[in-house]
Symmetry: C2
């Protein structure tokens, strides 16, 4: 919350800005097209005119971009096709480069970095705080990181090394080092004087951290308490001590849940010796939660990572292939299950028309179960105590669904083929496969969690494999026994 | 950030607390079981002993709960089966009831409210701020709301009426009224004196709002600027004016994106006359984002709303039935598509084994496309400009997938049945159906968005309906033409 922000223009609706950039770009590319198409020799005056108009449009676009908040520029870059994106990127003030690189998604960042020289990259990176450099580091060329590292003061080198050493899903990766610390034996007056000397406080400074002589964390002093209390009060008498402390090796998700539960704006990160090491702020937590949930949605749909919507066909296809290949394998397997019953189908072709129903509904139902379990696992609600209860409940729901929807499907089969045994086989197969679905829908995410894997990734391939093959096997198997 | 918080116990790992409550409850229920099973007449001494031990355990549990943060109690209530949940709920300090009701999920809230008398509910509700009462109102009996309303001062009645009038997904629903406002012509000294008189500032007060004589919003004054500047500075010279302003009718999602982009802690809500009306704080935005993403995940899996994991089988089943019923309808339709080709299948039963592959892979691929489009729509990245580009790209990926995976599937078919025409029909059907999938995977969310519906809800039923029926139709149709 600094004066710098006064230069920035906040906007209620960034989509209007996107439209404006698009229309400015259109003027520009229209003109370019005109210039390029005129392959005939032209007189100089005409040429000059073109160039002037062209330059004018570029200048207009640049002026427009200069007034935007870096986060808004990041948003616009995301929404532009690659050639227009790079044109806009080249017009952005160099001093915003670093911040914009931090804001854009990984996929788009790659495309921007690829268009920058090493010097530009180094310059952009050096504008950033050490925790931000650490975020960017995996996408930067080795040599740039080395140069940036050399340019840092010793203390910040240590910070960068520390920040880079933590895995992406740990508190260490969310942490920054912009915390203000004070001693517990001074008065608020002294604290106020110290703060006033700083000119501006780091963003999200809702509290200063209280440490002892050896940098050991003692408590926090909310800025609001400084404001509402008399200057002569001693920090130690006012500070809050029963406060949440994060550790750099904690899971980031755990920190996010603490921020949600306790409505925090910032929280101290303390190392194993009890020393104040850094802090986590709510804006980083917000980004983390949004990214996590997006990743989960994409993973569930079988995408390995977020996709630049203007990435090449080839690159996008690669992002999607693992999933399709896995599904193809399970489909081949299910196909062979059907293959073993070819004789039965030949005698009673109605089975071929009905079998996808048995497989499909159980798959849907199992995925419902899995969605509930994954959510409960994420919230830490599933204990040894209640897992058995949940299995019984899901089996009961599967049974109920089997009777109701299996009954409907059985009537459908009877109505079409006027065979009571076929109707009974249909209903029984639905019931059995829904129970199978309930069991695997519950068991697969639990087992994946147990083995330390993310239950949201890949659960659905396995579930579909089982409910498809299982459904075909149960239905055609029962038909072979009772109908042929 | 008030002194009240000092009474609260923050915890790094709330799951440990859950385990402790569970073990305390086990002691309790073990004992209860003993008491209940002894149907034989007992002597008084034995009876008394039981009751004493029992009372002791209850007291122990109560003591433990008294030390917990209301948000942690809410978490524990979520994870407990219904009878244990209600026991714990009855032991919670009445003064925390309101806050806990706000914290728990809708599903669990219902179960807690059902166990409370009207007086208890009224008491719990009256502890809350007006914006929180508005959040709770839809779940409360009419009469309780009327009583609470009557008990409020006039000004707060107006606030409550206003807060209740906004739809759930609007800024008005996120807003609270705990903002501090000052005039622009006073000094920081005056502001500081005013703040000191308040004893404590509302949570998330990172800035005070500056208004004119008619309550018109002029700008914001970050608390941090009060702290770092000299007391004689005039508010008007220091306040930030180019700041985001929300309006109560704005979409909540838009506000959430502004908080993410600009790293806000609080933002002013201004009405159509430019008057300061309320504020939105980051903790509410955090909860909103988490809830939105959870809802999206649950909706995609075909659940209408979040489920209390210990809800009755009947209630859970209802939550899941709409989806299953819809899927059953589309499955019946697909089944009839196959039915029209019964003659073909009878002559060439291999088709029955291969047709699920054609349908399934196109469905997977279409859902990948949809996931990308839904994400881009949510981020506001899709414009008229780039929608056509994206269609071409998705068609290209569909084509590439068709050649690659269709080719693999064709070889699989040839390998099994030694028929080159069958292999070609297989590959062609895969290719065509993947193109169909790419088109509908893109078009359906776009059309739903156009008609003002949430593209994340129900897209996948429609897509699967089309790729299933389409796949069967294309594959069996081609087979009828070329193989029979």
């Amino acid at each position: 919350m600094t004066n710098i922000k006064q230069e920035r223009h906040y906007t209620e609706n960034v989509q209007d800005h996107l439209k404006q950039v698009e229309s400015l770009l259109q003027k520009h590319s229209l003109l370019e097209a005109v210039v390029h198409r005129q392959e005939l020799p032209r007189n100089d005056r005409h040429d000059l005119l073109d160039t002037l108009v062209h330059k004018q449009h570029i200048a207009e676009l640049k002026r427009f971009l200069d007034n935007l908040h870096p986060a808004d520029i990041a948003y616009i870059l995301e929404a532009l096709p690659i050639e227009q994106r790079l044109l806009v990127w080249s017009l952005v003030k160099a001093e915003h480069d670093g911040e914009i690189l931090i804001e854009v998604s990984d996929a788009v960042r790659d495309s921007l970095i690829a268009a920058m020289s090493r010097d530009e990259l180094q310059e952009a990176t050096e504008q950033l705080d050490t925790d931000e450099i650490a975020d960017l580091a995996p996408d930067l060329p080795q040599q740039v990181i080395r140069e940036v590292f050399k340019s840092l003061p010793i203390g910040e080198r240590e910070q960068l090394r520390a920040a880079m050493s933590y895995p992406e899903d740990s508190v260490g990766a969310l942490m920054d080092f912009n915390m203000i610390h004070v001693r517990e034996d001074v008065t608020l007056e002294v604290v106020s004087r110290y703060l006033r000397r700083l000119d501006e406080l780091p963003d999200h400074t809702d509290q200063v951290f209280v440490v002892d002589r050896n940098d050991r964390f003692k408590g926090v002093l909310p800025i609001n308490l400084i404001v509402v209390n008399e200057p002569e009060v001693i920090v130690g008498t006012l500070m809050l001590t029963d406060i949440i402390q994060l550790h750099p090796d904690d899971k980031a998700e755990q920190a996010a849940q603490a921020f949600e539960r306790y409505d925090l704006v910032s929280a101290p990160v303390v190392d194993e010796d009890g020393k104040l090491f850094g802090r986590v702020t709510v804006n980083v937590v917000l980004d983390f939660i949004r990214e996590e949930s997006e990743t989960e949605l994409l993973n569930q749909a079988g995408l390995r990572e977020e996709e630049d919507i203007f990435a090449s066909v080839w690159k996008s296809a690669q992002n999607r292939w693992l999933w399709l290949a896995l599904n193809l394998c399970t489909a081949f397997f299910a196909s062979r299950v059907i293959g073993t019953f070819e004789g039965t189908i030949e005698k009673f072709v109605a089975l071929a028309t009905l079998m996808p129903i048995v497989a499909g509904i159980a798959g849907n139902s199992a995925n419902q179960t899995t969605a509930i379990i994954i959510r409960s696992l994420a919230l830490g609600q599933i204990t040894h105590e209640n897992a058995r209860r949940m299995l019984l409940k899901e089996l009961a729901i599967g049974g109920l669904n089997g009777v109701v929807w299996g009954g409907v499907a059985g009537l459908f089969a009877y109505y079409l083929y006027h065979s009571i045994p076929l109707g009974i086989v249909m209903t029984s197969a639905m019931l059995l496969n829904l129970m199978v679905g309930a069991s695997v829908g519950l068991a697969i995410p639990l087992v994946m969690q147990k083995f330390g894997r993310d239950p949201a990734i890949g659960s659905s391939v396995m579930i579909t494999a089982i409910t498809d093959s299982g459904g075909f096997f149960i239905f055609l198997g029962l038909a072979t026994i009772f109908l042929i």
